[in-house]
């Protein structure tokens, strides 16, 4: 499954709503929001691992999408286009948060290493979502985009502005960390 295939849009309906929204129809844009908000929110939540941040990113992504609607030419589906915007917003947010984190906690990236050992942690609490949330920020973002959203390493490298090798390393590291904790 690719990221663009995951949206299951009804092409004509989406195109109609987008055209109306491009003409300034906020009701049409609200329909688009209702169709896509939960997917955008899920992705933002997994990347940021923080509910308030994910809510803000979702809102910001839709506001930016509204402002850039005139530039949407329909080369990809609206969902795919919107996801790209949301990813950029979430990654930007992550960078800001990490900058703040460094100021108050220089070893913020090593958060996972400071977690209690799996044996000490009740398994019931360690569901997959929570495990992903404990990954280091950069590895988590890349892992979410690759393993859950279905983006290729090349796409992620372009989106995050990093080398393909770095993306692969992040995914590999994330998998190792998750497997180690998931098996126990």
């Amino acid at each position: 499954m690719t990221a663009s295939e995951a949206w299951n849009e009804i092409p004509n309906e989406a195109a109609g709503l987008v055209s109306r929204a491009q003409a300034g129809d906020t009701a049409a844009f609200e329909r688009l929001y209702r169709q896509h908000a939960s997917r955008v929110y899920a992705m933002c939540l997994r990347i940021t691992a923080d509910r308030p941040a994910a809510e803000e990113c979702t809102q910001d992504a839709f506001i930016r999408a509204w402002e850039a609607l005139a530039q949407f030419r329909g080369d990809s589906s609206f969902g795919t286009w919107l996801t790209r915007i949301a990813i950029n917003v979430a990654l930007q947010r992550l960078k800001l948060d990490r900058r703040h984190l460094r100021l108050i906690q220089p070893a913020g990236e090593q958060l996972l290493d400071n977690l209690p050992a799996p044996a000490d942690m009740p398994e019931a609490d360690m569901d997959m979502e929570r495990l992903i949330a404990t990954l280091p920020a950069a590895a988590r973002a890349v892992f979410v985009l690759h393993a859950i959203e279905g983006y290729s390493h090349e796409d992620i490298a372009e989106l995050t502005g990093t080398a393909i090798g770095t993306c692969k390393a992040h995914v590999h590291r994330a998998r190792q960390l998750l497997q180690a904790r998931f098996k126990t």
Binding site: R39, Y41, F62, I63, E67, A70, H146, R175, F182
Partner: protein, 175 residues
């Protein structure tokens, strides 16, 4: 993803929901932001139009005060649009047309300068009309609004330069 389809990790990953409903409706904040930005853009456009109209009006008033009345048309099509005794201008387009006609018919300005001012003012005006039409068609396109604002500024600037040239020639003649 790692080449092991039976991997429990992969199985768990595939079970993750693609969608998660936010705990509360996020639309009201989005709608409020969109409306606020629309208002700002609309006001911005209105301010730009008002600013342009004020600048054009100022230019015409100064032009009138310095006594730069259009004399007999000199080799120009635009001069014919100037009324024999100019009444008070009522709208920006009228003001603009009178201003351009005045420049076109000003004998104090060199012919090449007159042609350059008139041609550029006409070109800018045509671009403004075209961009205005595009803004009406795509009211949410911020870039179009910025382009329109830029064109207004260019037009005002050019009018200011034309006016300055007229004043300089008038002062030279008076002295």
């Amino acid at each position: 993803m790692n080449g092991k389809p039976d991997d429990t990790l992969d199985t768990a990953l595939t079970k993750l929901p693609k969608s998660i409903e936010p705990e509360h409706d996020l639309w009201p904040v989005i709608a409020a932001n969109i409306n606020r930005r629309r208002e700002q853009a609309r006001h911005g456009w209105n301010y730009a139009a008002a600013a342009a109209a004020v600048m054009v009006a100022t230019a015409v008033i100064a032009w009138t005060m310095f006594g730069l009345h259009a004399p007999t048309p000199v080799n120009s099509n635009f001069a014919s649009t100037v009324p024999p005794s100019s009444p008070a201008p009522v709208s920006a387009p009228d003001i603009r047309a009178q201003f351009v006609a005045g420049i076109a018919a000003d004998p104090g300005l060199p012919a090449a300068s007159r042609a350059a001012f008139v041609n550029n003012l006409h070109f800018l005006h045509a671009e403004i009309l075209r961009t205005q039409a595009a803004v009406e068609k795509y009211p949410n396109d911020v870039n179009l609004r910025l382009l329109l604002l830029d064109l207004y500024q260019q037009e005002s600037q050019l009018m200011g330069e034309a006016q300055r040239a007229q004043i300089q020639t008038t002062v030279r003649t008076t002295l």
